[in-house]
């Protein structure tokens, strides 16, 4: 169980790393089992990475596994981030640090852009999916509408459009 904790904490909590560690290297799970948990983690509310860790932990070791997996993805990152937050808010930022943060934030936006495009490719396969995604983006992004409201409307509409028996 402690090995399990260790593996997860080094990985930086990324889905691809879980796949590499659990399916490719240790062969504890098959790809289809992993993908099933991945879909479940996406589907349920809550941060994806922690949901995925819990679903995988639960599959491997039951309730205890789920609990350990959650602690393993959160505690190391929380400790590091608290240290960084203390430094960030404690001393006030020197101009050099401000420039450093501006540069890093800009790169993070670039990184997220690339990741988003990669994830979108297999999902936005037909006009229906593209319209739903575009409408959700416009409402929450530029229009700054309440996310809960948009989510309620677009999810209900989307489930109806994808209802069993509708043509793909």
């Amino acid at each position: 169980m402690f090995t399990w904790t260790g593996i997860l904490s080094i990985g930086g909590g990324r889905a691809a790393f879980f796949y590499e560690a659990l399916v490719v290297q240790r062969r504890w799970l098959r790809t289809d089992e992993f993908m099933q948990d991945y879909t479940l983690a996406q589907l349920l509310p809550g941060p994806n990475v922690s949901n995925l860790a819990i679903a995988l932990g639960h599959r491997l070791r039951g309730l205890g596994g789920a609990g350990w997996a959650l602690l393993a993805v959160i505690v190391p990152g929380l400790a590091v981030l608290l240290t960084l937050a203390t430094i960030y808010f404690g001393r006030g930022l020197a101009p050099a640090t401000v420039s450093l943060m501006h540069g890093m934030s800009a790169a993070v936006v670039g990184l997220l852009l690339v990741t988003s495009v990669r994830l979108m490719r297999p999902v936005l396969v037909n006009a229906r999916a593209v319209v739903i995604a575009a409408a959700t983006f416009a409402a929450v992004g530029p229009l700054r509408l309440n996310t809960a409201l948009v989510l309620l409307v677009s999810a209900a509409l989307s489930v109806w459009l994808h209802r069993p028996g509708s043509r793909a």
């Binding site: 819990i54 808010f89 943060m101 800009a106 936006v109 690339v114 988003s116």
Partner: protein, 173 residues
């Protein structure tokens, strides 16, 4: 209601809105923690997200960063628990039963239906972060070069982020 209770409630509510990826909840989180409650400034929020991105673990640990600013270490711990615990319990309950449910037509429909909604939310999250992070020609150029480097897989993401930081520092972003 005291501010601490509001904070726990806000992050609990935000965690429920995380569908198809944490980035999707960024626009609403920014609205709540910057505009409504003023726990952090827009700049601090982007910086907090950047630090969470550099840290191992889920990016939604940005909740701990905001909690720390608002109410110190107890605030950070409370925000983290509110963000992760309730939805985690839900996941355990559903994971237990999913094998039986997934054969059902509506479960498959929900899987297919929520994916594009999640993508739209994620794109909106990138938009919100870009709105605060890309404030001049240099930051736009850095984001563009970082995206190209990552798309062509020349360098690992963390290295690109750190190099962009050094470039920003040298050129005074």
């Amino acid at each position: 209601m005291s501010d601490v209770v509001w904070m726990a409630w806000t992050f609990l509510w935000l965690s429920v809105l995380c569908v198809g990826g944490g980035v999707g909840v960024i626009p609403e989180m920014q609205r709540q923690v910057v505009a409504n409650h003023q726990w952090v400034t827009a700049r601090e929020f982007v910086d907090g997200y950047t630090l969470a991105q550099l840290t191992p673990g889920p990016n939604m640990l940005v909740a701990a960063f905001v909690g720390y600013r608002a109410h110190g270490v107890p605030g950070a711990l409370l925000a983290t628990v509110a963000m992760f615990l309730p939805t985690s319990l839900l996941t355990v309950v559903v994971a237990d039963r999913w094998q039986r449910w997934r054969g059902h037509g509506w479960a498959a429909a929900a899987e297919r239906a929520l994916a594009p909604v999640g993508m739209g939310l994620m794109a909106a999250g990138v938009y919100t972060l870009a709105d605060s992070a890309l404030h001049d020609a240099l930051t736009v150029a850095l984001a563009f070069v970082a995206a190209l480097t990552l798309a062509s897989r020349w360098a690992p993401p963390m290295l690109v982020v750190v190099l962009a930081g050094v470039t920003g520092w040298l050129l005074g972003a």
